[in-house]
Each structure stands twice: as structure tokens, then as C-alpha cells.
Symmetry: C2
Subunit: 439 residues, 2 copies
């Protein structure tokens, strides 16, 4: 690498925030280093479709190096960040330490279990590509196990799927799971009684998708029930065990599948580095998105607590994208000796999809439900996918599913190893585990 | 399931042999049970392209249940076979025991290390989908590590890739790896000196692809050298360590990538069940493909040692397909009280592809090399893939690669965990391993 006197900007995280920060900075008078523990960006908005065997994992991921191939000043490090040394201005990782002049923390969020016993160990999450694949594998395994059990499958709880959290992820996954099971899986298992299948969506509050207008909320509830999803409102989970979920009303439901989408908190790197955070791990930033007392550190997206006149901004992709762009522009201003500008969020609306031909959308003061909203959802999500090839692949998979009611990606792959699996009834072995060869 | 008096046929393995056995049996007066440790069939002929980041793992796999969806008499069990009890006529698995009246053993082959120290532990193989993905991940990781090392990468051996075995798999992978690195990866790593990259193909015999005619053999050698592959003939490996490979001439080559394609032996289930086998684990079968003394047990494909007037048949897909069909027909004959017929193998030719526009093919007494053979190879492989969707996906990936010199599937996914990884320089962590959270 050439010796340079340009300011070094490190961006931690290559999610929506990280990517947009780099895109805004690239080409400017800075050396940029992106650090991520994966070598790909994940389009998390479609992760639930990976978990519902509708898309392949690769369809919603894109190699980070390829995104920035045309920018010679952007470098990438595949590394795991241990700590930010805010005094020495160094990011330490499992590979190397990287000094910075400016830092953008775009580390996103992780599941919040709220301390409910058993969730960490036994529940499935939907926040990383691995988790999406793990959940998909588990679902297919449940049906393989049910095929072995025959008539006893219904009582065992193996065909009961519990989703905790009635926000967008929980709703979208419940709908997609119902369509996967009743549209596609049903055709492959002749000796399973599909009337035993239960999909239960639990929500602690009084209604689903709390951030949506009432018309979309009631539409969502109706559509889910039409898809056979049992929606239980005002119901909390008090414990998860390997074979049950325990509810606040005392009921215990036998199940081997608890999908936890009930909450998120910030990834802990800021907190672990001594940067002051709130209870949920988010860093309260200045209106210009800087860490108080550290004008060289910006925090964006889910990692940041961004207070506005209308209240704190939600942890959604739009906030990540817009805050990252502002942080990047503010660094540009600082470098040229000017003052950073306050962040202004523009709400571009929000959408939710429940299933085939069924979605809800809010754009400005207008709301849409049904087929039109669903097409809008498809178009917007396709357009926001990174990479032309990914768009083609997703479009093919969607068309396939829509026209043929067929999900082609129903593999249990990679074979789960016992140590990695949360699925007690479905443990697969690799050759290394061959007890015949290693008795 | 309905009670039935039809003979129960168990087919172990859903590779080429298993699938063709079931296809031939299906619809006949039998109840068929396929047992496999994966819920998908793998098109192994294209596995090296998964390992070269050209195809996605899902493109060459197809769900077994979907293949046999239209045959009500075919059932599937996702299970790991422990043993065949040839006296009680029971197949025991990790899930359940399955009694049979007729059995077809189509368990295929696994790598043969010939006892060379370190191969089991440190070498990569190309016999399962997992191994293909593991190798691809490792290759990408090597370049990420090299990007961190900068100028020191060349000396570390991290950019030296050693392939052992000059048969079809070794040759095809060497060519594909060279095209991956010099056509696609080179564009993403600006600070790596690609003159440090070495791809070495080692072959113990005096020439490559021993089963091919001389014209194709010399063409193959020339094409590989043109692609920058160092081909070393008459060279054996005596040891593999985490960071070197030791050769029979005493040379030690620093490398973290040894791909072992030097030999295969039969999967050991027959041997472990007390069925007499040869040194390489294959069961010597009668001309009708039965186990001597067990007319109810057939062995087909790589698991069988099939002696003919022209010598023992090779362990290739065509033998598996044809022998499985014969075994299935012979069971049909036995059920109706007739005598099984001897197996007659029809050699339909063989092919090898070295790279872009470069392949060799033997069909009958004619040989072809170059562009025409390459197109033939593409067409035949596409046609033999199972599933229309897989064909579409593979065609898109091939077209992409051909037109844009771009491999889109260069992800390290799933993130490798230390215990699963053979790659000392490239260990990635999952959230479970987060030592910040679990100090």
C-alpha cells in the first residue's frame, strides 16, 4: 500500500449503515477501511425467506470486496472486532489492530432475550444468515422426524411452531412458514397428518405490528388467521425448554421450535469499549451523530440512540442508511475544517408482507393493503438488493414459488453437527463424527 | 401407511446408483424405502465447481423426497446407517431399524488416504457437498489472510495451492481454481502480488488422466500448464502437515491447502456388516450383482467390485447408473420367480474439462478436444442435472462466469467454527464463541 497522509476512516460493520457510509465517503480525500466478521453484506429484510426455504442464503448476500472494487481508497478486513480504544484511536481485532482518525460504528443489533430463561440456548433467532439457514434446516428436520414418528407426531409437539414477537419479522415469518408447510412441504410427506401442524404467533402487546396504522394492523391479523396462524395477543413467554414454551398465563405448549423475534439490542462492542450506552446497548449520540466527547467517533443505525423531536428513531434499515450517509458527510465537513450538520430523518414509509398477494404499505399519509401493496413490496425489495445477479436469482425463486407453489431450496445443508444444533430431535452427523470409524 | 404384503426393498444411498435403482423399481409390485444421511441427492460431477466458487451448493443438490413425490410406494428415511444385519435382514440406523426382503447397497465411496500421515486431518477432500463448500471457504480465506499479510504473503505458503491426484477431479479442480484466482479473485485484492500464487498438481504416475487416450492426455497437460498450473508427474506425497506438504523426493512445500483427490475406497458399511470385501472396501459381487451367499442383497456402483472380461469396472457414475438399473430389474425377476440376469456394462464414453473452452471427450472410438468437446461437456452435464430449476441456475451461473469472468458466489459461509475448520490461518467465529460475552 502506498504511504499516504490522507485521514484514515474506519467503518465497523458492512450492513446497511456501513455500506452507505462507505459509498458516501468513497472517492473523497480519505483512506477507508471496512471491518466485518463476514466477507459479505446480508440483505436482512429477506432473511425470513431464507428461513422459510424460499430463497437461498447466497441470494441475499453480496461479497463486500466486490461492492467496493472500483474504489481504490476502500480496503476491507475480514476480522472480528474486540474493542475500540477510544484514547489511542485504535480498533483491535482478532487479526490485527487498525488505527483510525475517524470512526463510524455501524455494528447493528443482536437479539434481546430480556433474560427469559432458555431463550439463549433453545430458541432460534433471525438476525444472521447462519441463523436463517439453521432455522430452515430445523423446520425440514421436524418434518423428517414426524415422518419417522408417524401417528405419534402430533402429540410430540414436533409439528408445533411457535414464533415469539408480533413485529415485522415475526409476522412475515409466520406467514411464510404457513405457506411453506401447507403449499409445498405437504406434498412430500404422505404419512403425516397436516391437521396436526400448529403455527402460533405470540405477542406481548395488545396488537401486531405496533408501528403500523390500524387498517394495516387489522388486515395483518386477518390474513395471518386466514393462513391458519394462531395469533395470541397479550401473551408473554416466561421460559423456553428443549421441548416446550411456557406462557405467562401458565400454559405450557409442547414444541421444539421457538423462533425469537421479540426484541433487539445493540451489538455490544461500543459498551465493551467503555462508550456510554443505554440499557439496550445503544449509544446516545449528539444531533450530529457523534459520541459526546469524541467528535471523531460516529455511531449510526441500530447501534445509535438517535433522539429527535418526534421521539427516538426506530431500529430499521432506513434510519441506518440515512444516518450513515449523514455521518460520512459530517466527516467530510470536519476534514475540511467545517462544522458537522445535524441529522434529519426522512420517513419514507414502511411495509409488511404476510404472504402471497398480501401485504400492507404506508407511504406518507396513504396506506395500501392487498395485491397492490404486495407488488410494491416485491419491487422495492428487489430494487434494494445489491447485485444484479442476486436480483435475477431472487426473481427466479419468487416466480417459481408463486407459479408452482414449490420451494426448491429445502435442503438440510450443511449437515448439522450435534454441537451446533439446537434441534434435539434432528441431529445429523458429518463423517468426522462417524462412530463406526472412531468407536 | 397401509398394511401391505408387497416385498420390501431397501435402497441405501441416494447417489446415482440409489436414484436409478429406485427409478427402475418404482411402480412395480414392491414397497421401496430409500435411506440416506442427507435429504438431497448431490450431482458430484460438478462438485469441483462448488469448490471453485462457480456454482452454489444448492445448484447441484436436489431434495430426495421431491424426486419420488409421484411414486406412492417410495418412502424416504433421513438416517445414518449403522449396520446391515444380513441374517435378520434388518438395516439398523441412528433413528430406527428397517427390515427388508431385498437390499440394494449403493453407498458409494469415500476418500482413500493410503495411510499417508496428516491427510485425514489436514487435507481437503472433494467427495461431499460439505467438503466442496469447506474448500471454497478456505480458498477465499487464504486470500483474506494474504491481504492482511501484505508483502509477506508469498513466503508464507498461503498462496500455494496443492492438488494431489491427476485424475479427473484433480485436473478439473486445478483448472477451475486457476480460472477462479486469475480471472475473478485477482480483481478484488489490490495489495496482493498474484505472481506469488502457485497451483501445483501432483500425480504419482507418469501421466495425468490415465484412463484417457494419449491425445487427450497431452492436451490436458498442455492446457493446465497454459493456465499456470505446475504439473509434477511421478511425484508422491509422504506427509501433510498444517503448513506443508512433503514429497517423495524430499522436497517440502509450504502450503495451507492440500486437496486430496488421489484415490477413493468404498464407504465402509458393507465391510462393517461382515460382508466380505476387498482391500479397498468394495464388495466382489456375482455377475448378477448379488453378494455371494446372499441373493437378496445387491451391491452397485462404487460400493461394488464388478469384474468383467475387460477387467474390473471403474468407479464412475455410468457404472453406478447402469449397475443399479440391472440390480433393480433383477429384483423384479426374483420376485416373479425368475433368474437374475448378468450385468452388461456399456461404455458411453468419458469426458474431462480443464477450463474455459477447453475439454476432452471420448465417444466410442472418436476423441475430441477443445471448444467442441467443452460445449459437449456443458450440454451433457446440464442434461444430467436433476431438476429443471437446478439447470436454470447452473446455466445462469455458467453464463455469468463465461461472459463476465465473475464468480458471484465467493462467500465464506457458513462462518467456520474453530472445531470444524482445517484452516489454521483463517478461523471465524460465531456468536456463540464470542469471548467478549463469555470471557
Amino acid at each position: 500500500m502506498a504511504v499516504t497522509a490522507k485521514p484514515r476512516v474506519i467503518v465497523i460493520g458492512a450492513g446497511f449503515g456501513g455500506l452507505w457510509a462507505v459509498k458516501t465517503l468513497a472517492g473523497g480525500p480519505v483512506d477507508i477501511r471496512v471491518i466485518d466478521r463476514n466477507n459479505y453484506h446480508t440483505f436482512l429484510a429477506l432473511l425470513y425467506q431464507v428461513a422459510a426455504a424460499e430463497l437461498e442464503a447466497e441470494d441475499i448476500a453480496y461479497p463486500i470486496r466486490s461492492i467496493f472494487r472500483d474504489f481504490p481508497d476502500v480496503d476491507f478486513a475480514l476480522a472480528y472486532v474486540h474493542r475500540i480504544d477510544t484514547e489511542k484511536r485504535i480498533v483491535t481485532t482478532d487479526k490485527k489492530a487498525f488505527p483510525y482518525d475517524y470512526l463510524i460504528v455501524a455494528t447493528g443489533s443482536i437479539p434481546h432475550t430480556f433474560g427469559v430463561p432458555g431463550v439463549d440456548t433453545h430458541a432460534f433467532f433471525l438476525k444472521t444468515l447462519e441463523e436463517g439457514v439453521e432455522l430452515k434446516n430445523h423446520i425440514v428436520c421436524c418434518f423428517e422426524s414426524a415422518a419417522m414418528l408417524g401417528d405419534r407426531a402430533g402429540d410430540s409437539g414436533i409439528l408445533t411452531f411457535v414464533i415469539v414477537g408480533g413485529g415485522a419479522t415475526g409476522v412475515e415469518y409466520a406467514g411464510a412458514l404457513s405457506e411453506l408447510i401447507h403449499g409445498s412441504i405437504v406434498r412430500d410427506y404422505q404419512n403425516i397428518d397436516f391437521r396436526s401442524v400448529r403455527i402460533i404467533l405470540l405477542e406481548a402487546a395488545e396488537g401486531l405490528v405496533a408501528n403500523m396504522p390500524e387498517s394495516i394492523r387489522s388486515y395483518t391479523l386477518g390474513k395471518l388467521r386466514q393462513l391458519g396462524v394462531e395469533v395470541r395477543l397479550s401473551t408473554k413467554v416466561t421460559a423456553v425448554t428443549p421441548e416446550t414454551v411456557v406462557l405467562s398465563d401458565g400454559e405450557t405448549i409442547p414444541t421444539q421450535t421457538v423462533v425469537w423475534t421479540a426484541g433487539v439490542r445493540a451489538e455490544p462492542v461500543a459498551a465493551l469499549s467503555g462508550i456510554p450506552v443505554r440499557n439496550d446497548g445503544r449509544v446516545p449520540v449528539t444531533p450530529t451523530l457523534q459520541v459526546p466527547g469524541h467528535p471523531e467517533i460516529y455511531v449510526v443505525g441500530d447501534a445509535a440512540f438517535i433522539d429527535t423531536e418526534g421521539g427516538a428513531l426506530p431500529m430499521v434499515a432506513q434510519v441506518a442508511i440515512q444516518s450513515a450517509a449523514t455521518a460520512a458527510r459530517n466527516i467530510g465537513l470536519q476534514i475540511t475544517g467545517r462544522q458537522p450538520l445535524p441529522f434529519r430523518y426522512r420517513d419514507r414509509g414502511s411495509m409488511i408482507t404476510i404472504g402471497r398477494n398480501a401485504a400492507g404499505a404506508v407511504i406518507g399519509s396513504r396506506t395500501f393493503t392487498g395485491f397492490f401493496a404486495w407488488v410494491l413490496w416485491l419491487v422495492i425489495h428487489l430494487a434494494n438488493l445489491i447485485g444484479f445477479r442476486n436480483r435475477v436469482m431472487v426473481l427466479i425463486n419468487w416466480a417459481w414459488d408463486y407459479l408452482l407453489y414449490e420451494r426448491a431450496v429445502r435442503f438440510v445443508f450443511p449437515s448439522q453437527t450435534p454441537s451446533l444444533s439446537k434441534s434435539p430431535s434432528c441431529v445429523f452427523r458429518t463423517r468426522c463424527d462417524d462412530e463406526r470409524l472412531n468407536p
